[in-house]
């Protein structure tokens, strides 16, 4: 029975992340538009977009190989699984034992790899350009991410996300400078990974600066829908990750009754909402940086990750 | 008595400083400057009869009495030189009456705060003294406002601040070391307390503090890897300032290092403080000796010579022991007197020839025989030719080293000889040959220069027994 319940909750989470992700994107867009004194599209617009794309004809370039066709499914699957692993409202779910930070990083890495390969598959100049830029970003963002992972696992003594969330939620950790560094670094990495504003602009197709959009330029129809869904899910994933690592308060711990799990869900949704508003504000205030500054920006994340690890390692709990 | 002397050295110049900043007439200003320096010198002489004591704020022992006396003496002669020299700058228009007011006030500020650094018993106050003295020289170095002068002052300021920051960090570390033994507050900052309780301090922390203080104050001494400011600052500032920089400020910084070394000596488990000083000293000596050859600017030449001699002095003190300390003290005195004398002579020459470039200064023996004599005597003295005092002290340093560290003594002797060759080579070019370039009449007073050289000569021929006794006593204190 307990197993069934657990499996059921796990299933709920898998569906939930998929369902909430477009909404999150919609909210971010809406808030941004509101700040700029525009009305903006409805927060349900991303759903409509996805629906429309799914029904449309899928055009594939003549010289595209099987890789090009497979990649969207792969990307979507990898991101979805990763998102399902992050404990969003409860830590005692059935698949939580696989919810390893390293596994999540690896899944996201796979998705990125597939995107870059598919981008180069067609042989257009934009694809190659986007892929090389993406790899430049990745070469800095991934080590930074690993530094953060190390710091947090050193602190909690495990790389299991659910256990980390449990640890942070139950232990009085206090103000720790290394956590501050790790938090800032994770924010930067998250912005870069999701192609958000100081690094990339998700809503333009300007060839001078675009990174992510350049890679998926050739996709259309249901392929594009999958990729869009994947990137929305990725945004949700990163936001949930930040929440569960640094602000897991309110999350339902192991073996919690249904009511608490529901409460955890509401708290999570509220946090996501706040996160969306903050992101929108940040994206309006900050301007997109020049491409060569991106390397410096991510370098800063790497440095902060390093520092946070050093401090944690040396000061044993500062 | 002590209080009176301290007022003369530390308080009167501060009042004078305010006056100097207000007096528009530069003649009155420079006269007042001389008078104030004379008062400070009188105060320093009074200290010889004062009882040695370590109070809450002031420390008076044979070591700093001697340095204060030397300082204020050179300060006095330099002020006399400056009074006559600076008039010329005003005529040439390189300085304005307004900047002269500034100059005189800063001169007194520098002298006062050097006095404070020497006489205080508080580590923090010592730091403040050296810091403010340095800052006032920075402004004076940049007073000509030429691009080169500004660059020199900037460089001096940046490097000096870095040095002073490290020294301050060292001071904090030293306080932390002492705090756990002596308790919080002023006692843990008092030099005499630190020295008498050094045995109980944590050796590792004490060593770390020493490293920071050595590097920090070592920058001010002009020791080799940290010397970059020194040639620029000497070359681009007014010549009287070059004289006091070389003759005094370097000594004061070295004094601070030595005070810390005395604390270190009280704790057997620390890193060998002397060794670090010996290494830095030797490096400076060799480096500066080599650098002497390719100089083209006469003031830079003697600036490098200052680095060389500070190297020798630091080396001697680093080796320690009564004899080496004695030699170091003597060399410190001789170098101060000779080098400031040389800078007086250089000031004359620069006025006579209108340039600092050595290529423009040739054949002095024909065009300005008296200046040629003065420079010749000065350079021979600083190069270590008998019968001048520098020879005596260098000889002492080398022989003591031979007795204890023959290998190092070889390096030391080599460095001295290399420097000797460089100085003679340049001297030959400066004095002989056909006089070239401009030729003006010199107005500055030659008296301070000859007083200095006469004293150096006298010390080389006959050291007064009372001075020997005094130095022996100081050498004992230094350990």
């Amino acid at each position: 029975m307990a197993l069934m319940f657990s499996l059921f909750m796990q299933g709920i989470q898998m569906m939930l992340v998929l369902l909430v992700a477009p909404l999150l994107v919609g909210v971010v867009r809406k808030v941004r538009a509101r700040i700029l004194l525009r009305r903006g599209p409805s927060i349900l617009q991303p759903y409509r977009d996805l629906w429309r794309l799914l029904r449309k004809e899928t055009v594939v370039a003549r010289n595209a190989s099987w890789l090009f066709r497979v990649a969207p499914y792969l990307i979507f699957a990898a991101v979805w699984v990763a998102a399902a692993l992050v404990p969003v409202f409860a830590t005692g779910l059935e698949f939580n034992w696989t919810a390893d930070l390293l596994a999540i990083v690896a899944l996201l890495g796979t998705a990125r790899f597939a995107t870059a390969l598919a981008a180069m598959d067609i042989g257009t100049s934009f694809g190659g350009l986007g892929a090389s830029r993406e790899m430049m970003v990745a070469s800095l963002a991934e080590p930074a991410m690993l530094m953060i992972v190390f710091t947090i696992s050193l602190l909690a003594g495990t790389t299991q996300l659910s256990e980390i969330a449990n640890f942070v939620a139950s232990q009085p950790i206090g103000l720790r400078i290394s956590l501050g560094f790790a938090f800032t670094a994770l924010l930067i990495v998250a912005l870069a990974e999701n192609a958000r504003i100081p690094v990339d602009n998700p809503s333009t197709h300007l060839e001078l600066t675009m990174i992510h959009e350049a890679m998926v330029l050739e996709y259309s129809g249901r392929h594009l829908a999958l990729i869009e869904a994947a990137s929305a899910t990725k945004l949700l994933l990163y936001m949930s990750l930040i929440i569960s690592l640094f602000l897991p308060y309110g999350i339902a711990t192991n073996e919690a009754p249904l009511s608490l799990q529901l409460f955890g869900m509401l708290v999570w949704l509220a946090k996501l909402g706040i996160g969306a508003v903050l992101l929108a504000i940040g994206e309006t205030v900050v301007s997109k940086m020049r491409l060569f500054r991106v390397a410096e920006f991510l370098g800063a994340a790497l440095v902060m990750g390093l520092l946070s690890m050093i401090f944690l390692f040396v000061f044993k709990g500062i | 008595m002590t209080t009176f002397a301290l007022i003369l050295i530390l308080v009167v110049p501060v009042i004078g400083m305010a006056l100097l900043a207000l007096i528009a007439n530069y003649r009155i200003g420079s006269t007042l400057n001389v008078l104030l320096s004379a008062t400070a010198f009188a105060g320093a002489c009074l200290l010889f009869w004062a009882p040695m004591q370590a109070g809450r704020f002031f420390l008076i022992d044979s070591f700093n009495i001697y340095l204060v006396a030397l300082n204020s003496f050179v300060g006095l002669t330099t002020s006399i030189f400056s009074a006559t020299y600076i008039a010329h700058e005003l005529e040439k228009g390189t300085l304005t009456p307004k900047s002269l007011r500034f100059y005189h006030a800063l001169y007194q500020a520098m002298m006062t705060f050097m006095g404070l650094a020497l006489l205080t018993n508080n580590l923090g106050l010592m730091w403040v003294g050296i810091e403010i003295a340095t800052l006032s020289t920075v402004v004076m170095v940049g007073i000509y406002r030429t691009p080169q002068a500004i660059e020199a002052a900037w460089k001096y300021f940046i490097l000096g601040s870095v040095g002073i920051a490290l020294a301050f960090f060292g001071t904090i570390l030293l306080y932390l070391t002492a705090e756990s033994v002596l308790g919080e507050g002023v006692p843990a900052m008092t030099l005499s307390n630190l020295q008498s309780n050094a045995a109980q301090f944590d050796p590792a922390l004490l060593s770390l503090a020493f490293v920071f203080l050595l590097v920090g104050y070592g920058t001010k001494v002009g020791l080799a890897p940290l010397h970059a400011w020194l040639p620029d600052a000497h070359a681009e500032g007014p010549t009287p300032i070059s004289a006091v920089l070389s003759g005094l400020l370097l000594n004061v910084a070295l004094y601070a290092v030595l005070r810390i070394k005395m604390i270190m000596a009280g704790n057997p488990d620390t890193i060998p403080a002397g060794l670090a000083m010996m290494i830095m000293g030797l490096t400076s000596l060799i480096f500066a000796a080599v650098m002497l050859y390719r100089r083209r600017d006469i003031k830079r030449l003697f600036a490098y010579s200052s680095i060389e001699h500070m190297g020798i002095i630091t080396f001697a003190f680093g080796m320690g022991g009564p004899l080496a300390n004695f030699a170091g003290l003597l060399h410190m005195t001789m170098h101060s007197l000779t080098k400031s004398g040389i800078f007086f002579a250089v000031g004359h020459i620069v006025q006579a020839k209108g340039t600092q470039k050595m290529s423009g200064i040739t054949g002095l023996a024909k065009s300005h025989p008296s200046l040629a004599w003065a420079l010749g005597i000065g350079v021979l003295a600083i190069a270590g030719v008998p019968p001048f005092g520098v020879f005596t002290s260098e000889f002492l340093v080398v022989t003591t080293t031979f007795a204890r560290q023959p290998v190092l003594a070889m390096i030391l002797a080599l460095g001295i000889i290399v420097a000797f060759g460089a100085l003679l080579m340049h001297l030959q070019k400066l004095l002989f040959g056909e006089p070239g370039g401009e030729s003006h009449k010199v107005k500055a007073s030659a008296l301070p220069m000859f007083i200095h050289f006469a004293l150096v000569l006298l010390a080389g021929l006959w050291l007064p027994p009372i001075l020997v006794e005094w130095f022996k006593q100081v050498a004992e204190v230094l350990g």
């Binding site: 410096e296 902060m304 | 810091e131 920051a165 705090e179």
Partner: protein
């Protein structure tokens, strides 16, 4: 007690983090803002020390840091830049990423220097010392990697921030020192200001590089 140490570490760490922000900035105004933030963080750190040590005189130091370095000096610098029409972009000698990496090494270095040596009970001063030394070294790094005179000024002042942090972390260090530090900052600024204006008198740029012309020596 535990939280008190936590807070003091956090604030000291924030000052250090802002040192890295200073290293990262490439625009003068952003640099001034970062410096102001660092000084405010410093003021908070010092204020916390004052509170937790019960040393009321430290509040003066905190207030000085807040008012002078947190507000007046950045404002004045901004005024100077606007008034003199100085180029607002700083071109560092070394690339930003390399600088940051060097900064990390300096932090490691200072931890390695201070930690084995300082074995103090309570361990308060030890971490603070390591932080302070890092800030000092980072200030130096900034002075080295910025050729621009104003960049060097900021580097120097952030270095002084580290000194103040160290001085206030040392329990019961006499007031004399704090006043002198504040005093020296004033003088430093005065001198710097004088120089900046003089540099302006002669050149169209405030870039120290422009000063490096052939001097008296062949070197």
């Amino acid at each position: 007690m535990e939280t008190s140490i936590d807070i003091s570490h956090f604030l000291a760490g924030a000052v250090l983090a802002l040192s890295f922000v200073l290293l990262y900035q490439a625009r003068l105004f952003a640099l001034f803002n970062a410096f102001a933030m660092q000084s405010i963080a410093l003021a908070m750190a010092v204020g916390w020390q004052a509170y937790s040590q019960g040393a009321s005189h430290l509040y003066i130091t905190a207030a000085l840091a807040l008012v002078m370095k947190g507000m007046l000096i950045p404002g004045a610098l901004r005024w100077v830049v606007v008034k003199m029409g100085i180029h607002r972009q700083i071109d560092p000698v070394v690339s930003v990423n390399l600088t940051l990496l060097l900064g990390v090494f300096l932090v490691i270095l200072s931890i390695m220097v201070v930690f084995p040596v300082a074995k103090m009970e309570g361990g308060i001063a030890r971490e603070d010392l390591a932080f302070a030394l890092s800030i000092i070294l980072l200030g130096m790094l900034m002075m080295i990697t910025r050729r621009n005179a104003i960049g060097q000024v900021i580097g120097f002042m952030s270095l002084e921030n580290g000194l103040i942090l160290a001085a206030t972390g040392a329990k019961g260090m006499p007031l004399v020192v704090e006043i002198s530090v504040a005093f020296s900052v004033l003088i430093a600024f005065f001198v710097f200001g004088v120089f900046i204006f003089r540099i302006r008198e002669h050149f169209d740029t405030i870039d120290v590089d422009a000063l490096s012309e052939m001097r008296g020596d062949a070197e």
